[in-house]
């Protein structure tokens, strides 16, 4: 059973990596997990979502106001991108980069369009990670650690 779980978890992680949702940074995060710090990855991801919810709200507000303050938008997005990079959320990061480019060009329409993408990626990653952690919890052990080391 345990092995089965592990296998499924590995498969899932690989698909996440293959589809580009995550990158090696996530693996590195998992490597940081050890006995002292058993739920490090999950904690970090939770923090990320708590943090990002606030940031996304800020960005939404900034986009709604007229005229759009692109500097503020850029600052917010930079924060968001920075934390995305930290957990290895590549897809979200890519959209963020695009968003910041639009920001630089002061392209409001592009910003709004990309922001929709950002939110979408953000949400889909959230679902996928939740599933992944659920699987990991079901396995009962911190399988991520093993996977990371291998």
């Amino acid at each position: 059973m345990d092995k089965n779980h592990l296998q499924r978890q590995l498969e899932m992680k690989r698909s996440l990596l293959d589809q580009g949702y995550l990158d090696e940074q996530f693996i590195q995060l998992e490597e940081l997990e050890d006995g002292d710090n058993p739920n490090f990855v999950e904690e970090t991801v939770t923090t990320f979502y708590a943090n990002s919810a606030r940031l996304l709200q800020n960005i939404e507000q900034a986009l709604g106001s007229r005229p759009i303050d692109f500097t503020a938008l850029d600052n917010c997005m930079h924060q968001f991108k920075s934390s995305s990079t930290s957990i290895g959320a590549t897809r979200v990061k890519k959209e963020c980069t695009l968003f910041m480019e639009y920001c630089e060009a002061a392209n409001a329409e592009g910003c709004i369009r990309t922001f929709r993408q950002v939110k979408q990626e953000h949400a889909s990653l959230k679902t996928k990670l939740e599933n992944y952690f659920k699987l990991a919890r079901q396995g009962g052990t911190s399988a991520g650690g093993h996977a990371g080391r291998s």
Partner: protein, 980 residues
């Protein structure tokens, strides 16, 4: 004048040049300016040549006019003279008449006498056609006079109106003169004009006027020109009055009229006069002469000459024939039109042509310059584009290589994971192959990335402390497997004068060495590969000493290419020997010279020139047989260049190649306060103490190889002696004062004569002075030593497999000598482990506004055992880092709201500075600040974008280094090791 022009021209051209240079910068301005100048030049010279033409023409005309005037005046004067001569003679005749006709009674002259006299004196008056005398007859005397003469006085005016020809001239047909107050009938006449006898002169209009004027003035008077009665030619009549008495000069005209006796007239044939005159003169043909009576200005009467109206050049000379009332003029003209002024035309045209030519030359020059400039700009543009394209290419390469690395890492990671799963042997094999290929691919990509980085100038060297010997040991161990496999001897020798620690980029240095050695390994099948490291000064100083490395005396006995020739082209050596060492010793710079010598196939002569060209290999077959991309050497060359060194080589086909390069490093031993980190780098140090004071004996007949062995053993701290033969060993041991702890015998000697070897072992076993020295065999390859071990079964010496490396040597010796290994870390230790050692228990502050990043960074550092404190703003960091504090280091995010990392660092540094100052001045006690008088917490920037500008700014504001986010163990270790 020419000279002046020339000056002007040269001045102009100088000016032009001057202006040109002034304007060369602004092309457009210069171009417009040039065009204007050219037009001005052409126009100016056209005007000048026109002016010259006019001037010269004017001169010619002037001269012509002068000639005409002088000729004309000459003619006029002569005409006048001749006329005067005739006139004087007529006047003389009038005196004769007054004397002989009126003065004598009866008259001494009659018609015949007069006619004959005049006929014979005609030569005196060459221009008079005839002379006649008319007497004054009053009406009262007419009848008596007519009777006396025998004819009636006839009137003249009818004759004037109907001029008749000489032949049918009949005086009888003329009418008698009508009754008048007085008459003046001609009584004497020269034969040529005898027909005028009896004609009343007063009845002729012209004659009457003439007569009246002559008698009242008492001078010679001229008529207007008229057609002569008989000859029908133009003539004038000169009339002199004959008076009864001699009159004084102041008598009134009335008295003159009263005293008049008669009138003497002479007919002048002007036409023939002028003709004759002109015939006398030369150049008669060149000019045309006209003579006019201009008494009435509005109607001048032509006296001579064709009446051709020509408005060309003419000259007028006045004639004075002695009659004040009558005025005469002579008009002269040239017969021919003035010739074309060829001189003026050619001169001006010539000047114009020259000017145009000069203008054309200027124009052509300007055009040429403009064209060249255009071409130049175009070339520059093209060059820029080409360079841009090159940079773009490099960037593309860099990007692509970088991008390939990421998925490749995924592939390799997955392969790793796959290997951990349950696989059968075949699968294992496949995965292993895949992984090896993947790794090869990644290393290739790394090479390409390096090349691209170098080409786009983005490669930067690090400056960190490293142990050169350790690095070479590392590289050696990398190749040891292969060298043993091939049976190629591998050795490293580093001069004692090279400092223990150097500061530079060990990774890149290692890359160069690895590359050169890899090449040598590829192409060497037998013999040796020998790496030597010296100081440049050493090599310069002892070039003669180095001759020992002659072709015979080499590491393996195979001949080698003379390595001194490989650095012949180096600038460091071509400089004067005296200045070079001075400049080096004055600073902390260490100038290393590294040679890699092999006994391989060598490089064909024709390929020597492109050895360092990227992607160029000796031939296409090379890449087939030996693999590789051919960029290694070019990267090495660039890296050497970055280390301000040079690389060169010498190669003899079939004998071998020697590559030599120099590199400049900083001496790492000069700052003892940073010695802490040396411990980590210098792994061989702990071992050295155990062999301190021991003596080793190396038996080797090759001095070069012995030197290498000695070098390695000496590094362990042992004393080394060298003998060249086994037979010398026993005498040495027994005779020496010190105890010999170990004997290291070169395998070659050992194998040379198994008898001697056996004997030697026996002798050694029976050696009775204290502990017998341990016997070691320095073997080249595992295989060969094994076979030998079987033969010398009596006293099996311990085999140390070459290449000699300090760590390996130490381990072998320790094993044999029983010296306890204290478990010092092995050579290829992971940085993670050292990081653990480094960071264990350290108190580190992490500052980042983003709590996700904070968490991740903290997690990473905690993993290495650090005690992590987090702060989420620059302000918090400042308050936490206010001395005294316990932090060993601080990781600071650069981009934070409110106060960014740079500003926070500046504040912290400022704060530290002031506290340090206070402590120094005793205003604060050192005790209150944990006995630290110089506060300086290492602050490392954390950035996602590791670009040079950020790096520089971070250093500027007082940071000590930077790490990229997310953390990478290697980089983290490198940065942290500098401070902790």
């Amino acid at each position: 004048m020419w000279l002046k022009w020339w000056e002007k021209i040269s001045e102009n051209s100088w000016k032009i040049q001057h202006h040109y240079f002034q304007y060369i910068g602004s092309k457009r301005v210069a171009k417009a300016w040039w065009r204007k100048l050219l037009i001005a030049w052409v126009l100016g010279w056209t005007v000048v040549s026109l002016w010259i033409f006019c001037y010269m023409r004017l001169q010619v005309t002037e001269k012509r006019k002068e000639t005409l005037a002088s000729m004309c005046d000459e003619r006029a004067r002569m005409l006048q003279d001749q006329f005067n001569v005739s006139m004087n003679h007529i006047q003389a005749m009038s005196i004769m008449i007054s004397t002989f006709h009126h003065g004598k009674n009866p008259s001494a002259i009659d018609q015949r006498t007069f006619a004959r006299y005049t006929e014979r004196t005609a030569f005196e008056r060459p221009i008079t056609s005839g002379v006649a005398y008319a007497v004054r007859v009053l009406h009262s005397e007419r009848e008596q006079f007519e009777k006396q003469q025998g004819w009636t006085i006839k009137r003249m005016d009818t004759l004037e109106q109907n001029p008749v020809h000489e032949d049918d001239y009949a005086p009888e047909a003329l009418e008698p003169s009508p009754i008048r107050e007085e008459y003046a009938p001609v009584i004497f006449a020269q034969d040529t004009i005898s027909h005028v006898v009896s004609l009343d002169v007063l009845s002729g209009k012209e004659d009457r006027e003439n007569v009246l004027r002559a008698r009242s003035s008492g001078k010679g008077v001229l008529t207007a020109p008229f057609r002569l009665v008989k000859t029908n030619r133009l003539g004038v009549i000169l009339t002199f009055a004959v008076y009864k008495t001699d009159l004084s000069s102041n008598v009134t005209p009335k008295e003159r009229i009263q005293a008049t006796d008669g009138y003497l007239g002479g007919v002048f044939d002007i036409e023939s006069l002028v003709e004759k005159l002109l015939q006398q003169l030369a150049s008669k043909q060149t000019i045309l002469v006209n003579v006019y009576d201009t008494t009435d200005h509005s109607h001048p009467i032509s006296m001579y000459g064709s009446n051709v109206s020509d408005d060309g050049l003419q000259h007028v000379s006045t004639l004075n024939f002695g009659d004040p009332i009558r005025k005469h003029e002579m008009h002269c003209r040239f017969k021919q039109k003035p010739p074309w002024p060829w001189l003026a035309i050619t001169t001006s045209v010539g000047i114009l042509v020259i000017a145009l030519l000069v203008g054309y030359i200027f124009h052509a020059t300007v055009n040429r310059i403009a064209k060249v400039e255009d071409d130049y700009h175009q070339m520059m543009e093209l060059k820029k584009r080409a360079e841009a394209a090159d940079v773009a290419k490099s960037q593309f390469l860099a990007t692509v290589s970088h991008e390939i690395r990421t998925p490749m890492n995924g592939v390799l990671g997955m392969l790793d994971m796959l290997m951990d799963t349950v696989l059968d042997v075949t699968q294992q094999d496949y995965v292993g192959t895949a992984q090896a290929s993947g790794k090869a691919l990644v290393s290739l990509i790394n090479e390409v990335l390096d090349q691209a980085k170098i080409q786009s100038g983005r490669l930067e060297l690090e400056a960190m402390r490293f142990d050169l010997r350790a690095i070479l040991d590392d590289v050696l161990s990398l190749f040891s497997g292969k060298s043993q496999e091939k049976g190629v001897e591998l050795a490293v020798y580093i001069s004692d004068q090279v400092p223990e620690m150097l500061i530079g980029d060990p990774g890149r240095f290692r890359q160069i060495i690895t590359n050169l050695m890899g090449n040598s390994m590829k192409f060497t099948e037998k013999g040796h590969i020998f790496v030597t490291v010296h100081l440049v000064e050493e090599v310069i100083g002892s070039i003669d000493v180095e001759t020992e490395s002659s072709s015979k005396n080499t590491l393996s006995g195979f001949p080698v290419a003379d390595r001194r020739r490989s650095w012949e082209g180096f600038k460091t050596f071509s400089r004067e020997g005296s200045t070079c060492p001075l400049s080096l010793s004055s600073s902390d710079l260490i100038n290393l010279i590294v040679s890699v010598e092999d006994t391989g196939v060598g490089i064909p002569l024709e390929a020597h020139s492109r050895v360092f060209t990227p992607f160029m290999q000796v031939g296409p077959s090379i890449s087939r047989t030996h693999g590789g991309t051919g960029i290694g050497l070019s990267i090495s060359k660039c890296l050497v260049g970055l280390m301000s060194g040079e690389i060169g080589f010498v190669s003899i086909p079939k004998i071998g190649s020697t590559f030599t390069f120099t590199a400049v490093f900083t001496n790492g031993c000069s700052n003892p306060n940073e010695y802490k980190s040396q411990q980590i780098d210098n792994k061989s140090n702990p071992a050295s103490s155990e062999f301190q004071g021991m003596t080793a004996l190396v038996v080797d007949h090759r001095p070069v190889r012995a030197k290498v062995s000695r070098y390695h053993i000496q590094r362990l701290g042992a004393h080394v002696e060298v003998v060249s033969d086994l037979n010398q060993v026993l005498p040495y041991i027994s005779g020496g004062k010190t105890v010999t702890n170990m004997i290291l015998v070169e395998q070659e000697i050992w194998d040379r004569d198994s008898g001697i070897s056996a004997l030697f072992t026996n002798n050694l076993k029976n050696f009775d002075r204290g502990i017998p020295p341990k016997l070691f065999l320095l073997a080249n390859s595992i295989g060969s030593s094994r076979t030998n071990a079987a033969t010398s079964s009596v006293y099996t010496p311990l085999i140390i497999t070459k290449p000699l490396r300090t760590s390996m040597l130490a381990a072998s010796l320790q094993r044999a000598m029983g010296v306890e290994n204290k478990g010092n870390p092995r050579n290829g230790e992971l940085p993670g482990l050292s990081l653990c050692n480094l960071l264990l228990g350290r108190k580190i502050l992490i500052v980042d506004d983003n709590n996700v990043n904070l968490k991740v960074a903290a997690g990473a550092l905690k993993k290495y055992g650090a005690d992590v404190v987090c702060a989420d703003s620059g302000k918090k960091a400042i308050s936490l880092l206010k001395p005294p504090h316990q932090f060993d280091a601080c990781f600071m995010d650069v981009q934070m709201p409110e106060m960014d990392g740079f500003e926070a660092t500046r504040n912290i540094r400022c704060m530290e500075h002031s506290i340090n100052n206070w402590i120094q001045h005793g205003e604060l006690s050192v005790e209150a600040y944990a006995n630290i008088s110089n506060w300086h917490v290492p602050i490392l920037a954390m950035t996602a974008d590791v670009i040079q500008a950020t790096h520089e700014e971070s250093l500027k504001c007082g940071m000590d280094g930077y790490v990229s986010k997310p953390f990478e163990a290697q980089q983290l270790y490198r940065e942290v090791s500098r401070f902790l």
